[in-house]
């Protein structure tokens, strides 16, 4: 019988993903004037994780967040899930490329804006190809782009603020007794 060994890294990913899922739920609860425009608060977690623990951890946290978030919100495998997955995948790929920019010049705000535009770009393309196969979806593009700019900047600033605070390991509660 094989025993699963839980590493510190696993605990960290789980803990951070939980924080991201929590923010996803807050996100879903905020009323918005237009479907598709959301603050994307969970991306703050993605950014902090990316800059503190690297891209691999950020990918894990994001994918877990999309999966667990969709299960909790009840749209797992519904169109909203695939939109979310496409947006997240594209923004993770963009972040993977953008993190190589010189850190002295480009901070979390740049990364956040790049990620926000990649997110909405991916979602629009999927919507055009699959959900609404008509160029009419692009009528909303300027509004989505403006939202990406505003929320990307705000989320980036929050992430920068969190990263500027003294580094400390997230307080993972150690399970008191292993089963």
């Amino acid at each position: 019988m094989t025993r699963l060994t839980v590493t510190g890294e696993d605990r960290r990913v789980a803990w951070l993903a939980t924080a991201a899922v929590g923010l996803s739920l807050v996100d879903a609860a905020i009323p918005t004037p237009l479907p598709g425009i959301k603050p994307g608060l969970a991306n703050i977690v993605t950014l902090v994780v990316l800059l503190r623990y690297g891209w691999g951890t950020a990918v894990w946290v994001s994918i877990l967040r999309v999966l667990a978030g969709s299960l909790l919100l009840g749209h797992f495998l519904a169109p909203g899930f695939f939109l979310s997955l496409t947006g997240t995948t594209l923004s993770l790929l963009t972040l993977g490329a953008a993190r190589h920019l010189p850190q002295r010049w480009f901070g979390p705000v740049s990364l956040s804006i790049f990620a926000a535009f990649a997110h909405i770009g991916g979602q629009l393309l999927l919507a055009r190809v699959w959900l609404i196969p008509h160029d009419g979806v692009f009528l909303l593009a300027p509004l989505f782009a403006a939202a990406a700019l505003v929320f990307g900047t705000i989320n980036g600033l929050i992430a920068a603020k969190l990263l500027a605070e003294p580094t400390e390991e997230p307080s993972c509660p150690k399970p008191s007794a292993l089963p």
Partner: protein, 125 residues
């Protein structure tokens, strides 16, 4: 405000400006024809009136069947009533995007919304 601005690095401003430019460019790209600013009313193919869409007024256009009543309001226009048998142009409701057109063929009246730039559709050709 000050402590937040300190979090922005020089390149961030560049990215912000670039993103704002992208948003600005996306408006003419995706909202072709710009905003609606005029309603063009034609009778027998000739321009009967060009009404600024900032005003609010009603027009009566006389055609072979009778009077077509057109209402113009800020940002939109519609055919209110028409003597035609099928009422297609009345049922189209409010028109507000450049290029939109309601044609009351039996009475030979058309109402079209125009923006700053001309856009073409299959009807134009």
């Amino acid at each position: 405000m000050k402590p937040w601005l300190a979090l922005l690095r020089p390149g961030d401003w560049l990215v912000l400006a670039g993103a704002a430019l992208l948003v600005g460019l996306s408006i003419p790209l995706f909202w072709q024809g710009g905003l609606a600013d005029r309603a063009i009313i034609r009778q027998e193919g000739k321009v009967f009136a060009e009404v600024d869409l900032r005003s609010k007024r009603q027009l009566e256009v006389a055609g072979p069947l009778g009077i077509t009543l057109i209402a113009v309001e800020p940002g939109r226009a519609r055919v209110v009533s028409d003597p035609g048998p099928r009422q297609y142009c009345v049922r189209q409701g409010w028109l507000m995007r450049p290029g939109e057109i309601a044609i009351c063929a039996p009475n030979r009246v058309s109402l079209q919304i125009a923006g700053r730039t001309r856009i073409y559709d299959s009807i134009s050709y």
